[in-house]
Every structure is written in C-alpha cells, then in structure tokens.
C-alpha cells in the first residue's frame, strides 16, 4: 500500500499528474477516489476488496478533460484501457498507468504495447463463483435457460447501473436514448429488459474485458456479467483473440468462421 502511496505522492510532487484515480476506504468497503494532490494520495488503498473497473472514469470528460491523469489499474482495468486505446478514446501523453498485479506488485505502463505484452503473459484472475454459475447455466436446456433469464430479468427496473459501471459504455448518447426510431422500449418490462441486455451484450462483442463490473453494479444482483462473459467466449471461439485486432466485429480475416451465415 505504502508503495502505491509513495509512487503517487512522487507523481504529484514532480507535477507529473493533476489527478489520480484510485480507491479509498469507504463505510463498508473501498470506494473510488480521485486524489488531487499529494495529501489526498495518503488515503489511497488497493486490495482484494476493491470492486469495479476504474477505467470507466477515463472517458468521463467532465472529470479528465485536459488533465494529466494517473490511475491504479487491476488486470481487467488494464484490459479495458487497452481496448479504449483501440477505440481512440485515450491520449497516451496525458495518462500514467500504474498496474497492480494479483501479488500486489506495481508496474508503470508506457502506452498500449506494454499493456498488451503484460496481458499476453498474465492469466486472468480466477472467478470460482462465476465458473460455478456458468457451468450450471450451460447444463440447462434452452427452455430452462429461457426461464432462468426471464426470471432474472423480470427484476430489472432499467436503472442502467450496468451501463454506468462499464468502461466500454462511454457513448454520449446511448442507443436506449435514441428515439427516432425508438429501438428499445424505455420502460421496464421483462422482454424490454431483455432487449436492452441483448443490445448491450452485442455492443460489447469483442470489446468487453470480462471484468464483471456490470454484474457487481446491478442493485438487484442479476448476473448480467455472465451474458458478456458468454459473448466473449463465443467471439474467442469464432474469431480468435480480440487483443490483436481491437475491433473483432468490424474487421475481417479470411480464416474467420462463417458457419453461422445461412
């Protein structure tokens, strides 16, 4: 911990950053924290209790515009940052990325190539609870699966916390706010909620880091992160790794599978 604090203090002292995105202690568990100076930096924490993907704040223009920003990034945040680079959303010169491994070791990344190299040799952190639920859902018949998701999504009241928690949901106008035409019903109803989730997941295809923040953010505990997780598996199986191309869906390789085209 002190290592992170010292590093960030040093960055502020050198006037290398104007803002640092990290976590501080909250009432129940650590919460996102925006340190503006070296004194703030002493409040920083980073451990297993930290939830969410901090990369989500890197595209909040009101927060970061024109500022030199530092961030403490977990494995998944690094993955999201790499994808945000692919999508022209980040300025390398204004960003200081401090990666924190599962062993707690710090490493400073200069740009996307270094992040990609790190991600290539680092396995994603284990998620035993998710794996258990995925295998349970995989074992279901289509009818059971439909029932499971209908049941789960009937609880949704479209607060869009899943969208707010996602680093990839940075559009200034989301498809749910487009009303000419009205693609998605604005009110909450089971099928309409499904419409929204199906759209969200399609928009994540080849982009999602699988961090699970959407599921964590859901106030009703609907495991919607499993939908993006499944999408990620499908993309991997059909089109190979997303890391090399960035835009899996809008790029073409001759060896891409086309078996699903009727």
């Amino acid at each position: 911990m002190s290592e992170l604090i010292n590093k960030v203090k040093e960055l502020f002292d050198k006037e290398a950053i104007d803002l640092f995105i990290g976590y501080e202690e909250g009432s129940r568990r650590p919460r996102p924290f925006f340190a503006k100076n070296a004194t703030d930096a002493t409040k920083l924490v980073f451990d297993d209790r930290c939830q969410g993907n901090l990369a989500v704040y890197l595209t909040r223009k009101d927060l970061v515009r024109g500022k030199r920003v530092g961030i403490s990034a977990s494995y998944y945040a690094l993955k999201s940052i790499s994808q945000l680079f692919n999508e022209n959303q980040l300025n390398k010169d204004l960003l200081t990325i401090i990666g924190i491994g599962s062993d707690g070791n710090l490493s400073v990344f200069e740009g996307q190539e270094q992040i990609k190299a790190y991600l290539k040799e680092t396995p994603p952190p284990a998620k035993p609870e998710d794996d258990e639920l995925v295998s349970k859902i995989n074992a279901m018949s289509p009818a059971e699966r439909w029932e499971f998701w209908t049941d789960e999504l009937s609880k949704c009241f479209k607060c869009y916390a899943c969208r707010a928690a996602c680093p990839m949901c940075y559009c200034t106008k989301c498809i749910v706010e487009v009303n000419r035409p009205q693609w998605i019903q604005p009110w909450a109803s089971t099928l309409g909620n499904m419409e929204w989730q199906i759209n969200r997941v399609m928009h994540m295809a080849g982009r999602c880091s699988d961090c699970g923040s959407c599921g964590t953010a859901c106030p009703l505990g609907i495991p919607i992160h499993l939908l993006t997780h499944k999408m990620k598996e499908s993309v991997l199986a059909n089109f190979g790794g997303d890391d090399e191309r960035g835009n899996v869906l809008s790029t073409f390789k001759p060896e891409d599978q086309e078996s699903f085209i009727l």
């Binding site: 940075y170 559009c171 498809i175 928009h203 869906l249 809008s250 790029t251």
Partner: protein
C-alpha cells in the same frame, strides 16, 4: 403534413394479371397521409408521366410512390418526371409490385394484399424522405489500361487519341500479346505482325500514353472517377534509359537454352532477352529465375559487354501510385495446357503440338522461319491431322463452352499448310464448323474446296505412335460412325482458350466479378457488354471470353468509348444515397464518440477523421466523417455504430423502421 400521391401501374398485364391494381389504388387512398391514388396501364408512358406531373401540381403533393417495376428499371424516369413538376426527385419512391409480387405469385386475393402492404411500406418511407441533391465528384481524367495485347493497345490508342491521358501496364517485357505470336490472320490472311506492330509503335510514341512494361497492378483503392492504383514495376535489371537495345548482351549471354515463351516453347531464348525483334519497348530484361548471376551469384557477362553500362543487378521492384479515373481490363486469355488430355499424347510425342505452336511454325519470325517442319526431326510433315475442340465443348472435362476462335484458325492452319506443302495432306476432325462472322464461312469453304483440306466430322479417341507415325484413331459420324485411322506425321490440337493465369487474383483485387471459368463478368450480357459490375472498370477482349481479333478490337473501342464518355464531363454526378455522420445544428455537436469502428468496417476507405474545435481553436472531439466521393452507400458502417450516429441518406434507420412497422401495424 405529408401529401403523398400513389400511382399504381398495370405494366400492361405484367402486374394486373395477378394483382387487382384498382383495389391496390383504392386501399392506398385510405392510408394516412395519402392525398391521391390512382392506377394506369403504363405509368412509364408519356400520358402516365403527365398524370403524375399534373397530380403533383394540382394536389400539391409532397411525395410520390409509384407501384410498378423494379426501381432498377424506371426509377430515373419517374424521378425525372417528379423533378419536372417541381418536386425534389428523391421524394419519389418506387414500390416493386412486379418482381417482388406479381411475377412471383399466382393471381389471388393474398397477392393483392401483399401489393397493398408493399405500397404501405413505401408510403411510410416516403413520409420520412428528405429532399436530397445529387453529389458532384471531380473526375481524374486519366485511364489505366491493364494488359498490352491488341485489346489494351486499341483501347489505349482510342482513349489517347481523344486527348485523354492513359497509363498502359503490361506484365511481360513487351506489349503485343498473343496477336504478335500469330502467323497470318483469318479471314484475309494478312500477316499478324505487319498489322500489329505499327499499332505497338504508335503506343510507344503517343504523347498521351505512358507505357509501363514488366509491370503489374499491386492494389486498387477508391472508386469511379477517383481510383488510386498502386503499380509494381518489376525490376528489369536493365536501365531502360541508358540501354540502347543494341543486343550485344543477349548475343553473349551464356544461358541460351530457355524455352521461349514467344515461340510457345518451340524455340530457345537467353536469360537476358527481348521476347521478339519488334518488341516494344525494345529493351531487354533479365529473367531472374534463369539468370546465372541470380542463381549462383556468378557471371555478369552482360554487364561486362554492355557498352553503355545499362545493366543494373539487384535493384528492387518499385511501387508507384497513380490517380486514375477509369480502368480498362484487357488481360487476355491463355491456351489450355494440352496435358489436360493424355489420350492425344501431348508432351509424350514431340510432334503433337498446339495451335499456338503451329502459328509459330507457320510464322516468318518463328523458329523454322515460316517453314512447316516437325519439332522432332525437322522434316516436312506429309500428312497433318488437326483436331478441333481439343478441350472445348467438353463438359466431362469441365469446359462446356465453345472457344470460338478454333474453327476459324484450324481452317486457316489447314490452308497455310496446303499453301506451304503443296503435296501434303491435311485432315481436320471437327464437331461442328462455327464460322459466324463476315467472310468467315467463305473462308472455311475455301480451305475445303480450293485447298483440299479433308474435313471429317467426328471426334478423335486416341493418338499413339507406331513405326515413326502418329496413328490418329477417330470416327466419321457422317459415314455412319465409321472408324477412321490416319497415319499422320504431325498432329495439331486446337486446345481450348481459358482465362489467363492470375485472372482470379486480379478480379478480387479490383472487386470485379468473374464467371466459374474465371473469365471476367460483364455487367449485362447484352446491354452492358464492356462494363463490369464495378462502376468505372470496363473490360474488353478475351479476358471476358475467348474472342477473335475483330471482336477484341470492337470491344476495346467500345470500352474506350465508355471511358471517353466518362471523361467528357468535369464532374461525375452521383446518387446522394451515402452515409452521413450526424451533426446537430449549429453543426458543432455530434453524437459520434469517435470509436472508428466504422473506419475498419468500411470496404471503401470512405471514413475520415474530423476534428471539432471550439472558438479558441482547441480540439474538443474527433469524430467520423464520410467522404461523399468514396462512400458507396452500402450501410455497413450504420450497422456497426452503437450510438446510431451514422445513417444512410434516403435509407435512414428511421425510414427502415417505419417500413417494417407499416407491415406489422395490422
């Protein structure tokens, strides 16, 4: 408030035979927003168009829906009529009641109901139409002609003589193509080179033609009027500027036993060579695959003997990029390798040769200086068998088409042989004689009646060697399928014309469609024979299908006329059916977030980056912008845009949605 006029066409009986047109018009009149609806026998006729124009003026229509044929046929007609009545032409839409309804269904109430639905959909769309203006794109008035055979030569000269710039690329060291290899040409028996070489020289000397020999198309971007062509200038190992073409290098080259492509393998050439004496340009190249220096690093004899120091070893290929307005494909054909039919013994017996090899034997510039001599022992053959349709019209062998030129050149070969070997006997095995063409039938009759060629209608089963003779076993179907056996000294196979090697790769590079035999496909077999489906790319000659010289030259001039027509305008008018990134007034905001997924998705490289700046000139945001000259309106970008910030004019998401909803509504 929309005031839509609906006009239902009977198309004679094409629509009214299965659709109740009157009822469609009556139902259409009840659709919300429809001001006027009627039906008529021929909407495209002058009275039909007048009816539309008058309704626009009298009823003050804001949009028009024509229920008639495919928009591909008459949309321009109706849009023009609307424009003449003062309506923006893009406020006129066509509902395809013929191809999409009357032609594909039987007469019934449901067919009429479907027609009503189709009209409802288009009314819903038309209500959301916005006035659009045609796009003007500047045209680069420079043509690229690919292939320097007679087709490419003719097309280049025609375009150049119209005062337009031409770049002609040829992958071989010289232009001339197959025609330069021919001896005499049917039906007049004039010497091929005598009529071709003046054209070749004209190409080389023409101020409007830039000739790149030993060059190939590397890649092609852009679209009609504004292509970007990257051309690979293959390293010649000889500097053409310094070389005088004196010929000392090839006379001294120690590598002399390379089968000459120009002589169809019957003669030999050196590793540094020009293909034939009248080559244009008449500067040699080094064939790297056969040169001693490139193979073992030693030799360089040519460098030592060159009086001007023109030899330049180890130079890399050069890539150049040219701005091009239109392209003519003239890449020609190839001859089927006769090892395709082992039963005729080609490759096994040296005296079984192809028609192209016979051309070289009969040619004054050929390996025997025009005397008909057998490749095996140089003797003059006393009995020659010509086999027509060697591969062509043989579905079992995968070539069901007729190669078209073989009947005529086989008659010519028999004739040339009889002219040169007076006491010789010639036999022609044929399936049918196809001599359609001016003076063609007369020519074949001359070969049979005046020159005594023996024509046998039947196919040859087998050719084999016995006691120094080639035994040709066939059948004469006009004599009751009597078996025929001829002891020949030489056999000539009229092997099928096939697509040129590399044709498929080139077609894919240029997005030009091709047929199952890899011949390039024309846009319409009758009405657009020299256009491809890709606008701005034309084709001519035998790259389309086997063709004789008159047809090749005609299509070349046809393709050139298309290019000249295109270049006669300063600007190209294009349909405004293109993608647009939304910009909310006062034009400084867009919902585009600049992820540029559209950029990777776009097959036409039409997406650009545009910076939105504030009043201080600082960049607030970088968003996508569609280059209207490059966009083809395919809509791929639209489907990738998560925030729906990009849309196709005239086919907006809102319009498509409204169309679907119009059908689902009841």
């Amino acid at each position: 408030m929309s005031k839509i006029g609906v006009f239902i066409c009977h198309c004679g009986e094409n629509i009214s035979a299965t659709v109740d047109c009157k009822k469609v018009a009556q139902e259409a009149a009840n659709i919300e927003g429809v001001e006027f609806a009627t039906d008529y026998k021929y909407m495209c006729s002058d009275p039909g168009q007048t009816m539309i124009k008058e309704a626009i003026k009298e009823k003050g229509l804001t949009g028009v829906v024509i229920g008639a044929c495919s928009p591909r046929m008459h949309e321009p007609t109706f849009r023009k009529a609307c424009a003449e009545a003062g309506l923006n032409p893009y406020m006129c839409e066509m509902s395809n009641l013929r191809e999409h309804c009357s032609w594909v269904h039987d007469k019934s109430d449901t067919t009429t109901e479907k027609a009503i639905d189709l009209v409802k959909m288009l009314v819903a769309k038309t209500k959301l139409d916005k006035p659009l203006n045609a796009i003007k794109v500047p045209i680069t008035k420079k043509a690229l002609v690919i292939g320097g055979g007679i087709a490419g030569i003719q097309a280049s000269l025609d375009i150049a003589n119209a005062g337009k710039q031409v770049i002609l690329i040829e992958r071989e060291p010289s232009i001339g193509g197959h025609m330069s290899q021919l001896s005499e040409t049917f039906p007049t028996l004039d010497c091929s080179q005598c009529i071709l070489t003046p054209r070749m020289v004209e190409v080389a000397q023409h101020p409007n033609i830039t000739l790149y020999n030993y060059a190939e198309l590397e890649s092609l971007d852009g679209s009609i009027g504004n292509f970007k062509a990257t051309i690979r200038l293959k390293a010649k190992s000889v500097d053409p500027k310094t070389c005088t073409g004196c010929g000392i290098c090839w006379s001294k080259c120690p590598k002399k036993k390379i089968p000459s492509e120009f002589n169809a393998g019957l003669g030999m050439r050196t590793a540094i060579y020009t293909p034939f004496p009248q080559a244009v340009p008449n500067k040699p190249v080094i064939d790297k695959a056969n040169c001693n220096y490139y193979l073992n690093g030693k030799c360089k004899v040519c460098e030592k003997v060159c009086p001007t120091g023109a030899i330049a070893f180890d130079k890399p290929d050069e890539l150049i990029t040219e701005d091009i307005g239109a392209i003519v494909l003239a890449t020609g054909f190839d001859v089927l390798k006769p090892d395709f039919f082992p039963e005729y013994g080609y490759g096994k017996y040296p005296d079984v040769i192809t028609g192209l090899q016979f051309e070289r034997l009969a040619s004054a510039s050929g390996p025997t200086l025009g005397e008909i001599r057998r490749p095996s022992d140089g003797k003059i053959p006393q009995k020659v068998v010509f086999i027509a349709c060697a591969g062509s019209r043989d579905p079992a062998k995968g070539i069901p088409y007729c190669s078209k030129i073989c009947c005529m050149y086989t008659a010519k070969h028999a004739m040339l042989y009889q002219h040169k070997v007076h006491e010789g006997e010639s036999y022609v095995f044929y399936m049918d004689i196809r001599a359609g063409g001016k003076n063609y039938e007369e020519f074949v009759r001359r070969a049979i009646e005046d020159d005594g060629a023996n024509y046998i209608r039947g196919r040859v089963a087998r050719v084999y060697e016995k006691d120094g003779k080639l035994i040709v076993r066939g059948v004469d179907t006009l004599m009751g399928a009597k078996p025929v056996e001829i002891e020949a000294d030489m056999v000539v196979l009229a092997s099928a014309g096939v697509s040129n090697c590399g044709a498929e790769e080139l077609a894919q590079k240029m997005h030009v469609s091709y047929d199952p035999y890899k011949f390039f496909a024309e846009a319409h077999p009758k009405l657009k024979p020299v256009e491809t489906n890709t606008a701005g790319i034309y084709l001519c000659g035998a790259c389309q299908a086997p063709k004789d010289i008159p047809d090749t030259v005609s299509t070349a001039s046809g393709a050139a006329a298309k290019v000249i027509g295109l270049f006669s305008n300063d600007e190209l008018t294009r349909e405004p059916i293109i993608a647009v990134v939304n910009r909310i007034p006062s034009h400084d905001v867009s919902t585009c977030v600049g992820c540029f997924m559209c950029e990777t998705a776009c097959p036409y490289q039409a997406i650009e980056h545009e910076e939105i700046k504030n009043r201080q000139g600082e960049v607030i945001k970088t968003v996508a912008r569609v280059n209207p000259g490059l966009c083809q309106g395919c809509g791929t970008c639209v489907s990738f845009c998560r925030s729906k910030s990009i849309d196709i004019q005239g086919f907006s998401n809102e319009q498509m949605y409204a169309e679907v909803m119009a059908v689902l509504a009841d």
